[in-house]
Amino acid sequence: MNSPRVLPTDRELSDPEVVARILSGDVEAFGIVIRRYESGLLRYATRMLGHPDAAADAVAEGLVRAYRHLASCRDPARLKSWLYRIVGNRCRSHLARRSASDISLEDAPPLPDPSDTEAAAERAEQLALVQRALETISPEKREAFVLKHVEGLSYEEMAEATGERIPTLKMRVHRARAALLEALKEEP
């Protein structure tokens, strides 16, 4: 009698192994990709667009597109930057269509829940303050700052995700830091 085969857990599968499974027809394996990258992508899109619903749309559209075009991911070991590239494109597309003052009540930052702890409420307020400052800087600088300092991408990964050269990205990140610092000074 054969001993039962121990299947690797999600954590043990590398990105290339997951991609290979999906491309061989294992649709459910795409759930691993979602679990692995969804939070970071949602955070990135929320920082870029400022609206959680728009961010969810951008990420969902991006992930579906990634699934459908997975065979065109040239280097599955770089799946992460490929996904950020796709979602980044969706965010830019959303931003391109948005009017300058397109903020409705639904898009306003959520009101603090009275049952939140004081610490959680303070964190939420701090996030709202920084997010407001972030939205005053240009989308390119915003993206550069978020990819580098929030999503933790290396400059090489950022180059793959944006299609820009590394020296351009470094300059953009430097300017983003200065612009954000300036914007934070002006926050009440």
């Binding site: 009017s99 300058a100 003052s101 397109d102």
Partner: protein, 224 residues
């Protein structure tokens, strides 16, 4: 030559030959099963004195984009309805030539961008004898950037009062959007542009090199 005539030259007028022209232009470009129904939509529009070129264009567009047959038919039908609504609005606004194909097409397009139908009347009153299309599009430009419709129309009416006509209304809208992008509030942007009227900037000229490198588009649709 004024804008009205130039738009008329651009568009084919409705004529008894429109229908045959439609079949010839659509054959091979749209799903064969749609030819009959599209032809009847175009014929109906021609009989009603509506411009047919926008309908033929919509069908060609659907075919080019690979859209399903039923969606092409639905879109062309919806375009015909928009043209009818535009003409009805122009008539009720007291336009002297409500059936001008260029004006009907321009107004239909502006309405499909979301401007309120009652604006047609307001602008027709402010611009007697002038096409309302460009001003409506200018209002649509502003509304798309978050300006209130009423204030946008007020700005165009003020521009008309000071002698602006035709595509200059688009320059008024562009100036207001520029002010917005410089960081002004919507109200301040409108006020800044009002103070400039009628001297809003015109778009810069293309460089001579761009003109000399310009190519002509080969189109199967010959202008009259």
């Amino acid at each position: 030559m004024n804008l009205r005539r130039s738009i008329v030259l651009l568009l084919a007028a409705a004529s008894p030959l429109a229908s045959q022209g439609a079949r010839d232009r659509l054959a091979g470009r749209v799903p064969p099963a749609t030819l009959g129904v599209l032809d009847s939509i175009v014929q109906d529009a021609a009989r009603d004195g509506l411009p047919t070129e926008p309908l033929i264009q919509k069908a060609l567009e659907g075919g080019a984009k690979g859209v399903a047959a039923d969606r092409i038919v639905a879109a062309v039908g919806a375009s015909a309805d928009q043209l009818r609504s535009a003409r009805a609005l122009l008539s009720s606004a007291g336009e002297s030539r409500p059936s001008d194909p260029g004006e009907v097409t321009a107004v239909a397009a502006a309405l499909s961008r979301g401007v309120s139908p009652q604006l047609v009347g307001r602008l027709s009153t402010a611009l007697p004898g002038e096409p309302a299309g460009p001003a409506l599009h200018a209002v649509a430009d502003l509304v798309g950037h978050g300006f209130a419709e009423d204030s946008s129309v007020d700005l165009m009416v003020e521009g008309a009062r000071l002698g602006l006509r035709g595509l200059r209304f688009l320059d008024v809208a562009a100036a207001a959007v520029q002010e917005l992008q410089r960081g002004r509030s919507h109200a301040a942007a409108l006020a800044a542009v009002r103070a400039l009227l009628p001297q809003v900037p015109t778009p810069p000229r293309p460089a001579p090199a761009a003109v000399s490198h310009a190519r002509r588009v080969q189109s199967s649709h010959e202008r009259p």
